[in-house]
């Protein structure tokens, strides 16, 4: 196995993963809000670097519809979108999951309009957290690359057969160039293996029906099966993480801690903010502060027990939510973290910060402010849901 170092944007990393996966079909809407992922991937198609049937459709709704059709036909299928594009797919996003089609879709996390905004926040993917897709989040381009490759294996596992979203931060990750380490084509090809469809439509010797009417007599049972598949995916995700980790020499987990040992004040976050927070943690640790980070990689399925285990002994936790859930008590990540601790007798004081909406920058000063406020939260929780970086 040969690793190659490249200076790539997150979008290029993802397109590179797609090139190495060489999916049978990619369907995408080629106009905004499409991302540089498809820009780069369509070049691979034009240059003959992949065997992919690339279907350019007239909308994102059609893009996901074409993916559903091709995946049902038995083709390994991928796509990518962002923000309002994902919103337009909505109806078919649910159908992909409930029809149990192992599509892998890269999401470049960007704000939903309006007012019109194209910059990073997580309201697009968080909005469809109940759609039945597995959701994996990526801190940087290299993680987006790795998560995309692993996602293919997870989605297609016969105990799972669910679609997977691989998310990365819009612009911050998707457009910024970083040095990344990528695997060679052969290693990726061997890792993902051949795809054999589950009762594919194109198997004309075994004709089957997809998407029939499913009313009060069986719909509920099919939903129950989706719950089961999500639960099964926990074991599969862990196995795929471990197997891929042996290739890359890294450790992947649902939640990944940084300097959590003896930590009293911890920030929980997803995606690119983790990098900035690590810098602050190193600086504060130098000053003797017991601070740490818990980075979420997998949001669906959600692992209650692991969250509790990782944050055991912590006194104050600040959850950073890059999307709001209007009318709810805090953002989606906060709700999950707080709920995970419900049965625990020993639990940290947990607060939420909504931050970075519409691409508002999260800088080092803001993170220091969070850790400073957590000092007070250790003994007095105060305001549970706070806003970071908004002008009051």
């Amino acid at each position: 196995m040969v690793k190659k170092r490249k200076a790539f944007t997150g979008a290029q990393c993802t397109a590179e993963a797609m090139r190495q996966i060489n999916p049978d079909v990619v369907a995408a809407y080629p106009i905004t809000p499409q991302t540089n992922i498809m820009h780069a991937f369509s070049q691979f198609v034009a240059d003959g670097d992949v065997d992919t049937e690339f279907i350019t459709v007239e909308s994102e709704h059609s893009a996901m519809s074409a993916c559903v059709g091709s995946s049902a036909a038995g083709a390994r299928t991928m796509t990518a979108t962002s923000a309002n594009g994902l919103a337009l797919m909505w109806e078919i996003v649910y159908i992909a999951a409930s029809t149990r089609l192992p599509i892998v879709m890269n999401i470049v996390n960007r704000a939903l309009s309006g007012p019109i905004n194209i910059h990073c926040d997580h309201s697009d993917s968080m909005g469809c957290r109940d759609s039945g897709w597995i959701q994996i989040y990526s801190e940087n381009g290299e993680e987006a690359y790795e998560n995309t490759i692993m996602a293919m294996r997870i989605a297609e596992h016969t105990d799972v057969l669910l679609p997977v979203m691989v998310c990365q931060d819009g612009f911050i990750t998707s457009h910024c160039v970083e040095t990344v380490e990528l695997l060679d084509d052969e290693t990726v090809k061997n890792f993902i293996g051949e795809y054999v469809g589950h009762y594919p439509l194109l198997d004309v010797d075994k004709p089957v029906t997809y998407g029939p009417l499913d009313l009060f007599d069986y719909y509920f049972e099919h939903k129950r099966q989706q719950v089961d598949a999500m639960q099964n995916s926990v074991k599969v995700i862990r196995e795929v993480f471990d197997e891929f980790g042996k290739i890359t020499g890294k450790h992947y987990d649902f939640f990944e801690g940084y300097r959590l040992e003896d930590a009293e004040k911890v920030i929980v976050c997803a995606n690119s903010s983790a990098g900035t927070i690590r810098v602050v943690i190193d600086e504060l640790r130098e000053q003797g502060q017991k601070v740490g980070l818990l980075k979420m990689r997998v949001f669906r399925p959600w692992l209650n027990d692991m969250v509790v285990e990782k944050l055991r002994g912590v006194k104050a936790v600040a959850v950073l939510d890059r999307s709001d859930s209007f009318g709810a008590f805090g953002g989606p990540l906060f709700s999950e973290i707080r709920s995970s601790f419900h049965e625990e007798t020993e639990k940290p004081n947990i607060i939420d910060y909504i931050y970075g909406l519409g691409g508002r920058e999260l800088d080092i000063a803001q993170i220091k402010k969070v850790f400073a406020e957590l000092e007070e939260v250790k003994t007095n929780v105060g305001e549970r849901v706070r806003y970071l970086g908004v002008r009051e």
């Binding site: 409930s98 029809t99 149990r100 089609l101 057969l161 589950h198 009762y199 075994k206 004709p207 089957v208 029906t209 997809y210 998407g211 029939p212 499913d214 007599d217 069986y218 049972e221 099919h222 129950r224 099966q225 089961d228 598949a229």
Partner: protein
Amino acid sequence: MSGKLKNWKEIPIGGKILEAGNSKEYKTGDWRTFRPLHNPEKCTNCMICWMICPDSAIKVGGVDCPAKGQKGVSDKPNLGNFGGFDLDYCKGCGVCAEECPFKAIEMKEEKEFKD
């Protein structure tokens, strides 16, 4: 649906139906609220009901109506004769009753029947 319903572990995932040609197992008549009743006294076996039924629920092969006293009356089944309603598929739309030139079909509410 007739018969015992299966649990979530017993059915294919994703709503897939793995056997071809299964639509005949689905009885579409179970949502009927009106049932057609045939009056052999008025029926002339013109078979307009058979032609216009949207669900092909008019059966053929009945015997000629003996009460009519017509020539050539037979008690043998005849494919050209009205042979009853297929209540597995009749949705009770009433088109047959509406179109029958001899008022030989009457629609009655399902609740008036015991079966």
